[in-house]
Point group: C2
Chain length 175, copies 2
DNA sequence: ATATATATCTTAGTCGCTAAGAGATTTAGC
DNA sequence: GCTAAATCTCTTAGCGACTAAGATATATAT
């Protein structure tokens, strides 16, 4: 039993470590937003724009889980800060594309340099093969957590008397 | 050069994967808060209480980065929800310890079951030795990002004219 | 004993969010 | 084509969580 017990302890330790490091990653992001002088959601949207390129306001709402009204505010702030531009779609004039003002990518990017350098240093202590192992684990973990999130969300929609009650406050906000 | 180039690509891919999975982890937490019907910060505090046990209000403020005023609100809500109790320190009557009401740990804990099961399944595909590698990487990464966060924070305190300017708040007028 | 430090709470004001619905445009049905 | 419904973004009202500053209570130092 000592073997499986050691493994159980290892799993628990790993979970704690992952939680800790993940939380710290979030904190780094919040600090970036802070230094850049923009709100957290604003930075998240910049991240999406960086990944996906030119997207509509509706798509931002979809990905972030915010309402379209909130996105209007986000884009207002980002536009006022000169980080993005609104571009009306000429094909479908209801739509508004949000496009990053190119120069600003570098301006925001500089704030990630400290972390990138730190992580590169850490990675230097690992072989290619080890890094591939990490990559595989990350990807598998991502899929697993994504599925778990969906499973949990379904609880929201199950009738309250059918689900494990906590009798806290009222209806939680949906996202 | 093909060797180092491959590694650079690997590093980049790993970074993206970590960001993605980390973000998903956060989303899972938000969903838990949603289902439980409490605010995000409230759940974060429950997490800290679970990890550290009985802690003072001030300690919560310190760890979360919130002001003490905000923590008063958090604890008010959690206490009203029956999740924690305030306990005045008899040795130093200025201090207020926040203690989790024991039964509620299980109530909140159940929401983490989907993720724990999913992650355990993933971990089953790895040997003890591989998991130890993952653990080591997590811990090293945590320390690195923590240090990077501190480094970035210091930018806030450096005089604005001395640091890489973004002049966001002040409307860089164009057009 | 008085002044200073520490720990929490209170208050006023701000910001970003949601919900609901208005406005503008496109698509579908007849 | 013309009307009705659908789609996409923005507006408005209200709310909840946050900060900053200071009040309150207690502890420590001189």
């Amino acid at each position: 039993m000592s073997r499986t017990k050691a493994r159980a302890a290892l799993l628990q330790e790993l979970e704690a470590a992952m939680r800790r490091s993940s939380a710290q990653g979030v904190l780094y992001g919040q600090t970036v937003a802070n230094v850049a002088g923009i709100a957290n959601s604003d930075l998240e949207c910049m991240d999406i724009l960086y990944l996906e390129g030119r997207v509509t306001a509706g798509r931002l709402a979809e990905v972030t889980g915010l309402t379209t009204g909130a996105i209007t505010g986000v884009v207002d702030r980002l536009e006022k800060a000169g980080l993005v531009r609104r571009e009306r779609d000429e094909k479908d004039r209801r739509k508004v594309f949000i496009a990053v003002v190119p120069e600003t990518i570098a301006k925001l990017g500089q704030f990630y340099v400290p972390m990138q350098q730190a992580m590169e240093k850490v990675c230097n202590g690992y072989s290619d093969e080890e890094l591939r192992l990490l990559l595989r684990f990350c990807n598998e973990g991502y899929k697993a957590v994504l599925a778990a999130t969906e499973a949990l969300k379904r609880l929201i929609d199950t009738p309250p008397e059918k689900r494990p009650d906590l009798k806290l406050k009222k209806r939680p906000r949906q996202s």
